[in-house]
């Protein structure tokens, strides 16, 4: 299989590799995929609770080069975006940017899932820490 230059670049120089404290209230963690399927992505975001802007993002991925590149790209894209803007990222945009072949589209889907899972985790934490009255008003 031949890879696009962008996939190779992300594979050789993955952006934002690492981990954040998953117990922290302003960190959202998404863990998607399964080892038996050959792909597991962990994507973490650190969100400013006042502005809902994603200030930092980290990832770790078990998977093929395209899976690594998709998640690396996802961290680049979510950084600086608000939660709502990040939720609007579509897997098809990742496919286009990395020129993924049809057999690798599932990697981009997984990256989109990882973003959503991380945001979902962060939202859940916010709701749990909010005063009851505010929660009821939502």
């Amino acid at each position: 299989m031949s890879y696009s230059d962008k996939v190779i670049d992300h594979y050789n120089h993955p952006r934002n590799v690492g981990s954040m404290d998953k117990s922290s209230t302003d960190v959202g963690t998404g863990l998607v995929g399964a080892p038996e399927c050959g792909d597991v992505m962990k994507l973490q975001i650190k969100v400013n609770p006042e502005t809902s802007v994603i200030e930092d993002a980290k990832f770790k991925t078990f998977g093929c080069g395209s899976a690594i590149a998709s998640s690396s790209l996802a961290t680049e894209w979510v950084k600086g975006k608000t939660i709502d803007e990040a939720l609007a990222i579509k897997n098809t945009e990742i496919v286009k940017e990395l020129a993924l072949p049809p057999v690798k589209i599932h990697c981009s889907v997984l990256a989109e899932d990882a973003i959503r899972a991380a945001i979902g985790d962060w939202k859940k934490k916010q709701e749990a820490t909010k005063p009851v009255g505010v929660q009821a008003a939502q």
Binding site: G33, P35, E36, V40, T61, C64, G65, L110, D113
Partner: protein, 429 residues
């Protein structure tokens, strides 16, 4: 229609050789179960048969034919000598897939009156498995024996599977993925005692380890040239002529070449190459197998000495000298191949195959899908050197270390999380 004459594609970037500071040519070829480089001594012997000695071996009336026939008969003898057979028991084919098809379909059809049951194993090559599946559609009953954790067939399973309708047992000599060598002599003995024909796909084994059709009671054996430093597109089938005499129904109709079992003009240069490759293998096997298994063990020790959670797939005792199949836990095989792209090897990962399923051979050993996705097959051959082994070991170790730093699974395992107990949010697609 275009009248342009198309030439073979030029060497692409990937196949252009580079050389490291210490003189190692890159990329390094270490995928010798897929195919092998033609030995220059083989090529030398083949060359006259393309132009000067181009005759048809079936031409009986002129020297062009006689010269070709003489070369073909010498090859037959050389192949026979390597496996303890006689020249008349060797018939030429286009390669392993045809040999397997002819052996299995030919025996099935010939002995149909006697029975309709065939026994094989789940780790066989697709050329055998798909042929058996084809026969099932035609009313044959096929037993696919499981294998043990080490990849070997359990002889008791085989014994139990045999019944009075069993006409053929087809079990490979050595596996193409994990290099595991089946107990051929024991299988042969069981088959002989019960009057069942024993076919073995011996393409990975011949020329690498001793195979003797009489000592092992093998009745039919598939051989191919390109796995033993010969050319592609030529193979052979050993078919026993006495005690018992095995007969095959041909799958190709035509001029009745090869004792009526395989019609078609013989590929004389290819056959000359196969014969020479067998002669070289017979001569070199004792030293070569020591050298190659030494290189293999060096690679294994260098990798396993520096990395934890690395697992060898298949028996380490009953194994081809040049095979090393290892799973690197927490690292996906394709990403590993991408990191060592100056080394030609194969992976059992789904992502490297068209099927998106990890290796069925590794699954049959009970290797979890996760470890099957993490496997790499190293196939060490005649032309590999110690310097190459050291280079490969270094590259593999540094790449696995880098990818583990990138792996959420490695991180979780190091934190003490039992990955088996995690409820994975698998893709819902």
């Amino acid at each position: 229609m275009s009248t342009d004459v198309k030439t073979a594609p030029p060497a692409t970037q990937e196949t252009v050789q580079r050389t490291t500071a210490n003189g190692i040519k890159l990329p390094i070829y270490m995928d010798n179960h897929a195919t092998t480089q033609l030995d220059p001594r083989v090529l030398e012997e083949m060359l006259p048969y393309f132009m000067e000695k181009f005759g048809n071996a079936a031409s009986r009336n002129h020297p062009f034919g006689w010269v070709a026939e003489e070369a073909v008969e010498l090859s037959r003898e050389r192949i026979a000598k390597l496996i303890g057979a006689t020249a008349k028991e060797i018939i030429f084919t286009s390669g392993a897939t045809e040999s397997d098809n002819l052996a299995i379909k030919g025996v099935a059809e010939m002995y149909r009156e006697k029975g309709n049951h065939i026994i094989t194993a789940v780790t066989e090559h697709k050329a055998v498995l798909d042929t058996c599946k084809h026969l099932e559609k035609g009313g044959f009953r096929v037993t696919y024996l499981p294998v043990q954790k080490d990849g070997l067939v359990d002889l008791d399973d085989l014994k139990r599977a045999m019944d009075d309708k069993t006409i053929l047992v087809t079990i490979m000599a050595a596996n193409n993925e994990i290099g595991v060598v089946q107990p051929l002599a024991e299988i042969g003995k069981l088959c002989r005692e019960r009057g069942v024909i024993f076919h073995t796909d011996a393409v990975q084994a011949i020329g690498k380890i001793p195979v003797d059709v009489n000592k092992m009671n093998i009745d039919v054996a598939s051989i191919t040239a390109h796995k033993l430093y010969g050319p592609k597109g030529v193979g052979a089938l050993y078919v026993r002529r006495k005690n018992p005499r095995v007969q095959l129904v041909p799958i190709i109709d035509g001029g009745g070449h090869e004792r009526g079992m395989r019609s078609g003009t013989l590929n004389v240069p290819g056959i000359v190459g196969l014969g020479k490759a067998c002669a070289l293998a017979l001569e070199d096997m004792p030293q070569e197998s020591v050298k190659i298994s030494g290189l293999r063990d060096r690679l294994r020790d260098k990798i396993m000495g520096r990395l934890d959670e690395v697992y060898i797939n298949g028996s380490t005792e009953h194994r081809l000298p040049g095979n090393l199949n290892i799973s690197f836990a927490y690292v996906e095989g394709e990403s590993l191949l991408m990191g060592i792209n100056d080394i030609a090897v194969s992976s059992g990962s789904a992502c490297t195959s068209a099927t998106l399923e990890p290796s069925y051979v590794l699954k049959a050993l009970g290797t979890g899908d996760d470890l099957a996705h993490s496997s790499i097959r190293f196939g060490i051959g005649r032309f590999n050197t110690e310097a190459e082994i050291d280079y490969v070991a270094d590259r593999v170790v540094e790449t696995v270390e880098r990818l583990r730093e990138l792996s959420p699974l490695y991180e979780m395992a190091k934190e003490g999380v039992d990955l088996k107990s995690v409820k994975w949010a698998a893709e819902a697609h």
